[in-house]
Symmetry: C2
Subunit: 785 residues, 2 copies
């Protein structure tokens, strides 16, 4: 049997993780192939696939149990959840299969437990946190909701009394405001504004004064109560986020102190970490750091070059490593090395200076604008389609010229989002256009799909113009920065949609059919269901919005999330089944719109505020200062795009081999990567929690492992990998997936600025028990304990 | 001629202010009587009224000029604005009148300047601040808006290319996505979700994959961009609010120091204010304070009873006066004084203990619930209408019993919102019911209006049940507390509505007519306009939504604010006039929904957060401590509603005459008024700014006037009433209306907690020039400079 640490590394191998995700999504997407199916597969096939998925989950869980302490594993509700879910799924599958053999149709109810795997596999930390945030918000939301319901019921009662006996009719000729429950539903819909002003018109036509009733209703319920919901959700979101961040920050500090205590040696009157050990540690912890970068960090930590790092500087190590320092080097273009005469010749130099000129960018901006006009013009004219080739050629020439002028490796550097974007879009467009032209000329056939893709790519090309305007760049970068965390909400939405889609399919499957416009089927105009005759649903031609398969259900749920016309859906589906079916739609509205969309908005607000308030942290300033002191800096304002691309490149592994301590060549400069550095989400990084206490001195260093992303030094504390336990779900799983960033990291930094360096924070147990209510006043001063 | 200070007091007299408001609203409501009128009046009448209003405004302005320094008055843009508006109105009125004589109809364009009077009369400080906040937000909003428009145009281009040549049709049989500008409009409407999912259905019916286009569109534009708008507005709102609050807080401190310097006398090594002078000051500044209250404050300020107040304690005076201390006194029921034998008899005592018992409240809660059921039941049955009398009687008995048990003056105390609410509702219902019954029996006639009012009052009675549940009470109190500031948004909305209504009437007046259901008029179903045949507008029976008079315009604008179906309105009105008329609706959406509603939501969010984070301030704690020390306190938890009402009453003027220093009778207790103290907005309080430098020592004290609400000591600084200049509009008007509260006061308190007492703040000039950008990081730590 392999050693626990080998097993552990295997568990965290990216392939294992990818495989787990693959099976989670396979399991979720089985709904596409099961009855009612988008792409029907025999029951045997889907059940074999499901069993396979469940076995994989079981295997993953067993693997996890092997690398975790026994009592820790069994205390974790996540693991219990997964086991129960596997058991339920298998039982249900067996029962369903047996009943099927006897031709008894039962409900595959276990399908709603499938999202549990997405939530509970340890990698989905973010989604779990979002769920925790929802759970924590529920009590407060409930009170506001009850008050809101009370207000709704009161207004409904008033409406019944005021309008109930007037014999009014709606625009569809139906009785208006007669039945109390229907009034409650209609006014609930009005809160979502979906039936405004229709619901008011009959009363308003009767007497203008009745408009005041609806105005009062909208002000109280739509404006005040809905804002109150956002306020409650946002307040809780902030409170809990801050609490978790505070825990993380204290935890990090504790861990750094522990690491220091492990590595410290006496030096005069104080304990310090000596240079050699420090370097060894950094090499272990961040093997990708270049020698020169390491040297720079040492210079900052050991300011006076005394040959050791004191406690205070050592504590900063995590932050230092966290800051992306780009090692820039003046590097010549490969052509300049291969063909110096040609590359250095007068025409070549002229060409390059033309490309580097600001007017070059402007020219291409103008070309993009002209292109936009051509795209908007009629496709049919041959000139326009020739022009398309011209534009494509112009864009390709632009890219080639830039690669000729700038160093190619820098041009396609990791942080050059727009260059990558441009190139990919252009070459995809080129490929698709050529493919389309070939198909057209050889097979006289226009592939609709390819044409659509060509069209979309053509328009996407125009987006680049945004990058030319500084102000837009800032907003765009903010948006790009919050994309990774936004994916969490994608996950959250996926879970809610899956559950509701599966319930919706059970409730409404087959009740509504879609027939193409020229169909002769009976009741084709009423979506195949006479109950929908004259309904708004049929009149709006909504027949294709049904729960007949998993994909359609998702689209219906998306439309319900957007809210508008949701009452038409609710009434339509209630007409073809039973009236209480409306509850399904109300429940979805409460869960999705009142809770999840509000959390999403809270998240955007918070992310935006943090991005806006972001300043360079103290540590960053220290690094910059040191870079400047050493005369190796690049002024931020010198760093115009073109100049930077021109003769510098980011080299992270470049100097690895050179090794020497003071070997910074003259051409070498550093700069701190600017805020919106990488459009790619950071790599997840896992930190092992070892079972054995360390044996010797050298082992110590090896086991104090810093996590590059959130910077926990994981010391040998037997079985005490606390940070993972922050993940309230259970207790202490032996690894951490720290692949989250942006808002968290920024908040953490802001929080840290508030704890004095001397403050070692509370003990581990206290940290774990920190509650949001102990966070001091939330909106105001954020000073910690 | 009266003295400047008499003139000044006259200017600030509540009657003068009320009169000004009356004429402002009269001027605004003239639109109701002018063509197109709700209640037509001859042109002569409305123009005489308008001239009268303008003369009043001119008079008010002249009065204002008299009490202000000359150069100050002319530097203030507000005053210039008012003068220009008066001039414009008069000119327009004259031109219109003359042209009318010659039967030439022109446009009364000057009507849009009328809201200027509402904005610019100095009392509307809050509305001006809101406008300033909007102005400050505009640049940032503009960038986001441009990016949003770019995204919209890109998506529209894609939509044109993807769907333009498919020959699809909308549900109404119109061509789908053919014209670029129409696509832009349709997709803009989709951003507001008003035409979802209708706008998607034709493409979705054609191919399910096209749903992805709309999903991407909604995510990017509706969810991300709209949240971004909220974030930008909220961020700016907070930033500017905090800046103003910071200025106020510094200003207050400066003024307190000045007041101290005026009043100080040497005492040993320090300067102090002696007791007599201190008392004189407090009496001047807060004449309503009772002697015992003043004594209490002195005890807090002069902790060791040394006979003087030192600088540090003096600085707190403003805050001390700001805290509502209720002087409670054990007081006997008037009946107990008049008829002690009867009131003290066994049955009377039993009765009172029954009323005081918790079960009494529960019984009445139960009665309310039963009442709710009876209200929901059919009115026609005679038993139900008899029951109504029974319930009314029960409620009246309840009130009588309570007045019998509790001291009446306390029962109707200023802070007893629910008692007032109950009594008013019940007696209004009683009056209306009796009136209705009388009309019915004598004239066999049911007045619809009275019946409606009875019905509404009957339902409103039920609201009282909310007050029985603690959690709901908290939320309700928060809501009640933010009502005064919410009125600002009422003012803001009024201004925007007025302007848009007047423009809308010019554009769309008479184009759409409403005919009752059984009308035989031509095109009655098409709102009297054949251009609306088959339009959604006519089909939705929206004919009564028109711009034919001022009131109807307001209702249409309200419906546009709610957003849903606004595209139907836009299309309808564009059909009956010209297509560019849609711009009017888009402009209204941008101004009202994107800017003002977002500011409103920001305001609710901020108010809610502040209310939630409210704790007792240091000063409050000090007062409470002192009250406890002196043994005159009431434990907060003892202060149950019933007990308090039973034998205590708030007496603010009660001890005025007694005078003695240590005369607190045994029955006298204090308590700090609990947070949600008064549902009524605080009284505005004006602070004169005197022209002459003070002459003597006694005058000094008289002129150091503290404003009770925001507590500025206005010293004699010649013409330097700075706080008013905070009102950026102009420079330095000579008075301040400080009638705002809640959020501001709370924020100020929070900010003050962050400035150390020693910090005297920057100089006046620096304070005035503080910019929001110098406020440190906004969402995070709010520590001030």
């Amino acid at each position: 049997m392999p050693s626990p640490s080998r097993l552990y590394q295997l568990y965290n191998h990216w392939m294992m993780r990818t495989a787990t995700y693959f099976f989670i999504f396979l399991n979720l997407s089985l709904a596409l192939f099961e009855e009612p199916a988008v792409y029907p597969l025999p029951f045997l096939a889907t059940s074999v696939l499901e069993v396979l998925c469940l076995l994989v989950f079981l295997g993953r869980l067993t693997h996890f149990a092997k690398v975790t302490l026994h009592n820790v594993f069994w205390k974790d509700t996540k693991n219990i959840c997964i086991m129960v879910a596997i058991l339920l799924s298998l039982t249900d599958l067996a029962v369903y299969g047996v009943l099927r053999l006897y031709d008894v149709r039962s409900i595959r109810w276990s399908r709603i437990v499938r999202p549990i795997f997405l939530i509970n596999f340890a990698e989905s930390r973010q989604i779990r946190r979002a769920f925790r945030s929802i759970r924590n918000t529920l009590p407060e939301i409930t009170y506001v909701f009850l008050l809101f319901m009370f207000s709704l019921l009161m207004f409904s009662l008033m409406a019944l009394k005021l309008f109930g006996e007037r014999n009014l009719q709606t625009a569809e000729g139906l009785p208006y405001f007669r039945n109390y429950l229907e009034i409650v539903f209609d006014l609930y819909v009005l809160v979502t504004t979906a039936n405004s002003p229709d619901v008011m018109m009959p009363a308003f036509d009767f007497s203008s004064w009745y408009a005041l009733f609806f105005i009062a209703f909208v002000i109280v319920n739509t404006y005040i109560f809905m804002s109150l919901f956002l306020a409650v959700v946002y307040n809780n979101y902030k409170k809990h986020l801050k609490n978790e961040i505070r825990k993380l920050a204290y935890m990090k500090r504790r861990k750094m102190i522990e690491a220091f205590n492990l590595l410290k040696e006496e030096e005069g009157e104080q304990f310090v970490v000596r240079e050699a050990r420090w370097k060894q540690l950094v090499k272990l912890v961040a093997p990708d750091t270049s020698n020169s970068h390491r040297e720079l960090l040492l210079r900052i930590s050991d300011d006076e070059q005394k040959g050791f790092v004191d406690k205070k500087s050592f504590m900063q190590l995590a932050d230092l490593l966290n800051i992306q320092v780009v090692t820039l080097k003046i590097r010549r273009h490969p052509l300049a090395r291969r063909l110096p005469a040609l590359y250095g010749s007068a025409p070549s130099r002229l060409l390059r200076s033309v490309v580097r000129h600001r007017a070059f960018v402007w020219t291409y901006d103008a070309i993009i604008l002209v292109n936009a006009i051509f795209i908007a013009l009629d496709e049919e004219s041959p000139y326009v389609s020739y022009a398309e080739w011209v534009f494509l050629a112009l864009y390709i020439i632009e890219i080639l010229l830039k690669v000729y002028t700038y160093e190619p490796r820098e041009f396609f550097g990791k942080t050059q989002f727009w260059n990558w974007f441009d190139t990919l879009i252009i070459f995809a467009a080129l490929t698709a256009t050529i493919l389309n032209a070939t198909l057209k000329s050889t097979m006289k056939y226009n592939s609709q799909q390819i044409l659509d893709i060509v069209l979309i790519l053509r328009v996407l090309r125009l987006i680049r113009i945004v990058d030319s305007i500084q102000r837009f760049q800032v907003i765009m970068n903010t948006l790009i920065n919050i994309v990774p965390t936004m994916l969490t909400f994608g996950g959250l939405t996926l879970v809610v949609y899956c559950v509701f889609a599966i319930i919706g399919m059970e409730l409404f499957h087959g009740k509504i059919q879609y027939f193409p416009a020229n169909s002769n089927a009976p009741h084709a105009l009423e979506c195949g269901n006479p109950a929908l005759k004259d309904s708004l649903f049929a009149r709006g031609k909504y027949c294709k919005n049904n729960f007949n398969d998993f994909a359609s259900s998702f689209i219906v749920l998306m439309e319900l999330t957007v809210v508008n016309q949701w009452h038409v859906f609710a009434n339509g589906f209630a007409n073809v089944t039973v009236q209480p079916a409306k509850l399904y739609f109300i429940a979805f509205h409460i869960v999705m719109v009142i809770i999840i969309v509000n959390i999403f908005v809270s998240f955007i607000l918070e992310a935006f505020f943090v991005e806006y308030s972001l300043e360079k942290s103290e540590v960053e300033t220290a690094i910059e200062q040191k870079i400047q002191e050493l005369g190796m800096g690049v002024q931020e304002d010198e760093l115009h795009h073109e100049q930077l691309l021109d003769n510098m490149e980011s080299a992270e592994h470049e100097l690895e081999g050179e090794g020497g301590t003071k070997s910074q060549s003259k051409g070498l400069v550093f700069k701190i990567a600017s805020k919106p550095s990488s459009p790619l989400p950071p790599q997840p990084f896992c930190v092992p929690c070892l079972h054995e206490p360390p044996s010797g001195d050298t082992a110590l260093v090896a086991e104090v492992v810093l996590c590059q992303d959130t910077c926990f030094p994981f010391s040998f504390l037997y079985g005490l990998c606390i940070p993972a336990a922050l993940d309230h779900g259970g207790t202490i799983p032996p690894f951490l997936w720290l692949g989250y960033r942006t808002v968290d990291a920024l908040l953490q930094r802001m929080f840290e600025a508030e704890i004095p360096l001397e403050d070692e924070g509370p003990s581990f147990e206290e940290i774990l028990n920190l509650s949001p209510s102990s966070v001091p006043r939330s909106p105001g001063s954020e000073s910690a304990a």
